[in-house]
Subunit: 214 residues, 2 copies
């Protein structure tokens, strides 16, 4: 009984430590880059021993991979839910516009921009980290868009013969301009919402000119 | 006379050394990243003394900036000349297709992809390096496209009211899919030319659906 009670109490404590490690690691990785980060520094900032860090994460790469997954999933999950809602759209221009504005605002969050830059910078050395980001982020969104676009085509709302290509076009028409600028120029300060909305609406306009019902 | 002859001979020798330094530095930066590169290593690979490196380039940042400029300029200059040729186009679909295919092949060169990744990875710490890449690369291309698109609009070949936005849309419709994949997935091996051409042609199709003459 005593051992069991202790185990029940130990579990949340372990989860708390894990969360502290992930938060500290995110801060240190984003500040110092992948190579510039040591497990010692993460342990110190999290207020745990280095052994505790290694108990939760076998090595630095797995810890970084966990941060990439959880940060990307958080954004990607929200976008995914927005994409699924499109299926029953009765006003595609308005609904694509809503999706595009939300998607762009989500992707342009400073922390995600910083992480994306870091992952790209390391993609030559550690392509598996970039793969996690790609597959759980843009890859997942584009794949969901393709499924929904095919259903919208079947309903006569879109005209297309390659749903995956159309999904890529939509995704990048919305995001490319501010995202590529932010990547190279190192901007993390959020753009004005009005500017993001303008890019989103203009992207939807081009998309519908190409793929909308005549 | 003797001093003058020596000076004439000294000039090419200095230029040769400078070229050797730039070539060595490119190799070391792309292999080890910005932080992982030392002037010592560059000097050793170039076969010159460290003093000679510092005589040509005051510090590591200026040397890296020189590499970014010269690599980006080489590609950007070729694309720029292609863009200018559009002005007199009689068959916009064919000529935009040609431009798009050449532009995409140029931007997807392995060395430029590696450098782009490196610059993005450092853009948080050294935004001025990303600014050099952006302004001499995509920024320059988009600006030239906007000028030409405005002239094509005046000739009745395009329908648009924001030439700069249309230029961004063209640029990223052509490049976003393979470029963003390559950035995150760490692919440097050149994509099959047929795949690049397919992205280029599809991008031109969407662009003309939105901005072409009805």
């Amino acid at each position: 009984m005593a051992a069991e009670a202790q185990e029940l109490k130990a579990e949340p404590r372990s989860a708390r430590k894990r969360r502290a490690i992930v938060e500290a690691a995110t801060a240190v990785f984003l500040r110092n880059g992948y190579l510039g980060t040591s497990m010692d520094e993460i342990a110190a900032l999290a207020g745990v021993s280095k052994q505790t860090v290694y108990k939760h994460f076998a090595d630095k790469k797995r810890l970084f991979s966990e941060i990439v997954s959880s940060t990307v999933d958080e954004v990607s999950e929200a976008v995914h839910n927005e994409v699924l809602k499109l299926e029953d759209s009765g006003d595609l221009k308005a609904d694509l516009g809503d999706l595009a504005r939300r998607q762009l605002a989500a992707v342009m969050q400073p922390r995600l921009l910083q992480l994306r830059r870091l992952v790209i910078g390391e993609a030559g050395r550690f392509p598996e980290l970039g793969r996690v980001f790609y597959e759980r982020g843009p890859g997942r969104t584009v794949s969901a868009l393709a499924t929904i676009f095919e259903r919208l085509r079947a309903r006569g709302m879109l005209v297309l013969d390659d749903p995956l290509l159309a999904a890529h076009h939509f995704n990048w028409l919305i995001m490319s301009i501010p995202l590529n600028e932010a990547m190279l120029l190192g901007h993390d300060a959020p753009l004005a919402r009005a500017d993001l909305d303008r890019y989103a609406d203009a992207g939807v306009g081009v998309f519908l000119a190409a793929y909308g019902r005549r």
